[in-house]
Amino acid sequence: MVCAKGHRVFETLLSNPFLAKDYSDEQWDQAVRLGRSANLLARLYQLLADSDLLKVVPQKAHHHLVSASLQAQKQRMQVQWEVKLLAKELLSIGVRPILLKGGAYIYANKSAGQGRTLADIDVLVRKCDLSKVERHLKTVGWYSDKVDDYDQYYYREWTHEIPPLIHYKRQTVLDIHHNIFPVLRFRIDIERLMDKVYFDADGVGTLQLYDMIIHSATHLFFEGEFESGLRDLSDMDLLVRELKVEDWLKLKHRAQELRLVRPLFYALRYCRHCLSSPVPDDIWTARDTGTPNALQLYVADLLFTRVLIPHHALAKKPGYRLAKFLLYWRGHVLKMPLSVLVPHLLRKLTRSIAVTKD
């Protein structure tokens, strides 16, 4: 690994925390700024702590890492507590919640939950339970602040979740999904996913390790926004590091079974590219359907490597804005057919004009 300079100064540390020993004050200054903009400062703190490297961090940088880590630890406690209360509530109506993403990594005590911060707790329930869950939570202190009729309509009709619920007192935000992807363009077989969920004694479910990786990949590479892209890659990096040698093929087969090869392919490629994840060379073969062809791959590299970064001026390469723009559209087109997408975007546009006029 070459010594970090310029825009890779943060990712390099995540890939190999031992390089911290050679970092100059200036590199630390940049690493802290980049890490903060990527929401990964607490993650870096944890990786350094795991390798007993905090002592090599200059004091000023250390303060910022500690700060971020305290915030993450607070969230960790909050997630564990909130999930306990939620599970109790849902148990009373006979529903067992399944945690997704950050909340699940923390609850299941995965290394991807270490130093993980989150804006909301993502929960998956069966579609048939959704309205029952929503009704019940609204009687015990949760409310939705999406009061606009169109917002409500949009959420219910075209996404795989209900509008976020907020607890009136604790201000925690719950995102309740009935699928891991918008229902329209892709029929993801949610039952196959649900079948493998592990429920603990409190009735809280988490996905199997393979499914956690595939879900995070699907979420990142089918959506159009990459603000937390590097954070998601880092999650997947830590998750795949838990795989044993013989697990890699099982991971691939699971993605094939769920028909989610493409996002997994990209996830592993960019985990390796950005964070030096130990992905085997020979995992994909020419016979594997769903992998991109040479041209698709060329374009994907051009676009994804420009946005899977800390979104900070120090890290942006030429073409960043164009890549972001194109991927935003790609995300929308993947989600909805044009006959739905165009009216939706027009409505958003006219509404944003109405709001900005003063």
Binding site: D25, R33, K60, Q71, H312
Partner: protein, 302 residues
């Protein structure tokens, strides 16, 4: 303080200063900021040579938009990120102060912060916790002019392991009537111009005294927690406060108590334990000074 502030040699309108524990770099080409920053901060250490690590990189600049020609506005950027809506350009100087407070309160959790003022004299260190509008800025500005060292008028920081207070010693944010009152009572006080129509009304900033700015690296052990309340016409009324009530008031005025968890609880308990706790109602500075100076008696030369 011999280290006089000078405009940066590079001429790029960047000022770097050290406030005890952290380094701030302020960049601005806004006239008001260029005018008042040297005045307010000349007594603080200019960070020389330019440090490689900066805790908070702040820019106060006009946003790129057509409005700049109509009703000019300024934006606060923390390392390129704008957490607030732009304000009228006239408020650029207070915007920097508020913004820096926000940076500390939101991103610097190594210390437990209280929404409190703090003053110190001869080893007597008083924490004045109170919500906005209770007159703690006015009171702490008056005490500073009376010879007490100001730790902060807004954010009092306490180190969790030692329970010692950490000074920031920045300019005091004065509002509305208190501006003229303080200028009249303390002719030696140095204030900026008045900034009108801010969210807090009329605002002016008071330059820290030399004793405050030059000793910004010296921590102190808090000895008193006094919750102040300005009541027009009231003669001084000091009452002892129950310790549990003092603790609840203290943590109710904390920005990051909830983030520090158990260590926050332990630190706050230790503070309340080691401090004498009072509530204080006042309307006249002389009576307050007499009371505060009384706290110092017997501690001379400590």
């Amino acid at each position: 303080m011999s280290n006089q502030y000078l405009l940066d040699a590079n001429g790029d309108n960047t000022w770097q200063f050290e406030f005890g524990s952290f380094t701030v770099a302020l960049t601005s080409s806004v006239d008001n900021v260029k005018k008042w920053t040297p005045f307010l901060y000349q007594q603080f250490h200019k960070a020389e040579p330019r440090p490689a690590f900066v805790d908070f990189r702040i820019q106060i600049e006009r946003p790129e938009s057509l409005r700049r020609w109509v009703r000019p506005q300024v934006n606060f950027y923390l390392d390129g990120f704008a957490p607030f809506k732009p304000l009228p350009a006239q408020q650029a100087v207070p915007l920097f102060e508020w913004g820096l407070n926000w940076c500390i309160a939101n991103q610097y959790h190594r210390y437990l912060h209280f929404h409190a003022a703090g003053v110190e004299k001869n080893g007597i260190m008083v924490i004045l916790p109170a919500p906005p509008g209770s007159g703690k800025s006015t009171l702490s500005a008056a005490l500073m002019q009376h010879g007490w060292r100001l730790f902060s008028d807004e954010i009092l920081m306490v180190e969790p392991t030692t329970a010692r207070a950490i000074p920031i010693g920045r300019p005091v944010n004065l509002k509305n009537e208190s501006i003229d009152l303080l200028q009249k009572t303390f002719p030696q006080a140095e204030l900026t111009e008045k900034f009108y129509d801010t969210a807090k009304g009329v605002v002016a900033l008071m330059k820290p005294t030399a004793a405050t700015a030059s000793r910004v690296s010296e921590t102190a052990m808090p000895t008193h927690i006094i919750t102040p309340r300005y009541v027009p016409g009231r003669t001084l009324n000091v009452r002892a406060c129950r310790k549990p009530a003092a603790l609840m008031a203290l943590i109710g005025n904390s920005f990051n108590y909830h983030i520090l968890g158990k260590s926050g609880f332990d630190t706050a308990c230790r503070l309340v334990d080691q401090c004498d706790c009072f509530t204080l109602e006042y309307s006249r500075f002389e009576e307050v000074f007499e009371f505060f100076d009384g706290l110092c008696e017997g501690s001379q030369g400590v």
